[in-house]
Every structure is written in structure tokens, then in C-alpha cells.
Amino acid sequence: MKRTDVDEILRDALREEVSGAQPYLDELEERIVVELGERRPRLRAIDWIRQLAAPTRSARFGQLVVVGATAAAFLIVGLFASQFFEQQSGLPTGGGIRLETAQEARSGLQDVLFVVPAPLAASTVVVVGDFNDWEATPLTDEDGDGIWTTTIPLSPGRYEYGYLIDGRWWGEDPRADEYIQSFGEYSSVRYVGRGGEGV
């Protein structure tokens, strides 16, 4: 048997399996379209800001109205609160409203550091977890010392994850809060915010 035969047989074998599944595949798009219904792709924060910056569409005008109304509401509540606390404590509160609002805006996300001491020969290190839908987020080792790092902004919660070092699974991160072994291999778990350090 020639090597090229193996390639061709493999290709034919998989094509046959795909043909055999046509009853399932024939209606796949219809089923998924129905399931998606009115659902739209998730909007990332940066896209949302970009959309706001583009004033041409009426839908974006609607978003501006919502943002404007929210900001006005915060301002009014803040003004009342500042007057109330000024009366209560007698201390000056200039700037307090802005600081509080900025903290609230930031409180959603925390920069979480992922660090892997990989073998020096490693050429690709990625982290996969439920925070990135198990898609690879690459780590970098710019100084070549074998310590690969990346920072990912995450909102408070519990996250399962692991690393792929040159494609090999490594799920026992020493920085993890706990480990789980539900799928036969270890995965790491990190708690961000609410009692977990996150970083």
C-alpha cells in the first residue's frame, strides 16, 4: 500500500461518512436559524462604543438617548446624594460624584493575570476556558525566560480553564483557586471578585 493511498482512502472514507449524514445535514441551517430566532451576535464593549460614535443610523440615535438619560439620572441622584452627605457630615464633597461613577463603571471587569512556566523549548502557549468559549487566547514570553503571560479582563465569577502548551493540555495552574477533574483530566478554576483574588 502506497502512502498516497492512505490519504485518498481517508478522504473517501470521511466523505462517505459525511454523505451518510445528509439527512441530518440537509436541514441543519433551517433548524439553527429557527433556534436563533431574534438572537443577534453578542456586542463587545468596543463595538458598542464604536456604534455610538457613528451618528448616522437612527438606531444609534436611540442608544444615545438611552445613554444620555442614564447619565442625567446618575447626575441628578448624585447631586441629591452629595447635598445629603454635605448636610450630614459638613465635609466638602467636590469631585466625589465623578469618582464614584468611574469606580462603578470599572467594577465590572478585573484584569486577571495568567502565567505559565512552560519548558524553554515551548513555542505556543494558549489559555482556553469558559471565559473565551474555549477558544485560544495566546500567552507571550517576550524575554524568552520560559514564563508565558497574558492578562484578560474578566467580570466577577467562577471560571474553568486550562493551558495548551504546544497543543498539550495542562490544567493544574498553581495560581488556581481549585482544581476539578470532571472530564478525566484536571482543569483549573479561578474565582474573580466576590471572595476570589482574581489576579
Binding site: V6, D7, E17, L25, E29, D47
Partner: protein, 184 residues
């Protein structure tokens, strides 16, 4: 309506929430994604689940797709990662491989021979470790370049080449051993 549209237009329409455009994307890629899944997983029910999930996840996360890259690479990466998770799950929750009965060609003897060869290669593929099986499927079923396979599986290009070379040798060996056993 969408048949004549280019892929980027379909993806833009999908981003705007036009699920019919996404349906057209699915119809273009479903065979390739399903072939990848069944090649990786060696189980039809799991391959159907993962194919379905991959298209749902890709749609929901469509804004993360970088238009400078090939869409096929992105959807294959999602499918490959979902397959990996399913295989991890299957280590603790094993199921048997489902027999797949296929129709033959016009010449019964030739069809039988072809079917036997295909059965042998499928059985051999199922015995290969995932690390070798995945690059073989991407190379010979999905017709991808080494660079794309490297990106999808998050392994260096050199490792992809090595695994394909060794994987083919292993596949051939397993098939030949089975042939000898059948003849004995």
C-alpha cells in the same frame, strides 16, 4: 437570494442579525465542519451535536471574528475546541462507536472492496491518538495548509508536519495489521 453574495457580505448581514444570511454560511460550511467533527470524534451523535453547537457559538461570538483571517480557519478552530472538550468528557462518559452503513457503487465487487478499505481506514483512524488524528483529518479531509492546521490546533507548524507524517505511517500500519488478521 444569498447564493450569489460573497462571504463578507453574508457575515456583515449576519452581524446585523439577519439569521438567514447565517443560514447561508452554515450551508456552505456544514459538510466541512461535520467532516472535521466526525473525523475527530469518531461518533456520529457527538459529531452532530458539536457541528450544531459550533455554528451557534460562532454566530453568538461573530464580532470576535477577525475579517483579515479566513472564516474557515475561525469556524474550524471553534469546532476543534468543542471536539476537544467533548473528547475530554467522553473519557469519563464513554460511548461505543456507532456503525455507519453506507451505500456502494454500481459494481458490487468493487463497491464492497472500496467499502472494506474505507471501513479499515475509519477503524484505524479511531485507534490513533487525538494528537495525530486531528491534523490528519484537517489535512486530508478539510484540505488545509500546514499553517492553518497549526493555527487551529494551536501547535507549531513543524509539529503539524511531524504529526501528519507519523500519523500516516501509524494509520498505514494499523490498516495493514488488520488486513493481515483478516486474511489469516
Amino acid at each position: 437570494m444569498y447564493r450569489v453574495q460573497d462571504e463578507v457580505s453574508l457575515l456583515r448581514a449576519s452581524l446585523e442579525g439577519e439569521t438567514e444570511a447565517w443560514g447561508e454560511i452554515i450551508s456552505r460550511y456544514k459538510d466541512a465542519v461535520f467532516g472535521l467533527c466526525i473525523g475527530f470524534l469518531r461518533n456520529r451523535a457527538d459529531a452532530e451535536d458539536i457541528t450544531h453547537d459550533a455554528f451557534i457559538r460562532a454566530y453568538v461570538n461573530l464580532r470576535r471574528y477577525n475579517v483579515d483571517k479566513r472564516f474557515s480557519t475561525w469556524i474550524f478552530t471553534i469546532a476543534a475546541n468543542l471536539c476537544r472538550n467533548r473528547l475530554r468528557y467522553r473519557k469519563n462518559h464513554p460511548v461505543g462507536e456507532m456503525p455507519i452503513h453506507l451505500s456502494g457503487g454500481t459494481d458490487p465487487a468493487r463497491a464492497l472492496e472500496q467499502e472494506e478499505r474505507c471501513d479499515r481506514v475509519r477503524a484505524a483512524l479511531g485507534r490513533l491518538p487525538y494528537a495525530y488524528r486531528a491534523p490528519l483529518v484537517l489535512r486530508f479531509y478539510n484540505d488545509l495548509a500546514y499553517r492553518e492546521i497549526s493555527e487551529i490546533l494551536a501547535i507549531p507548524e513543524g509539529t503539524v508536519k511531524t504529526r501528519i507524517h507519523r500519523g500516516k505511517a501509524m494509520l498505514k500500519e494499523v490498516m495493514e495489521n488488520r488486513e493481515e488478521r483478516d486474511q489469516a
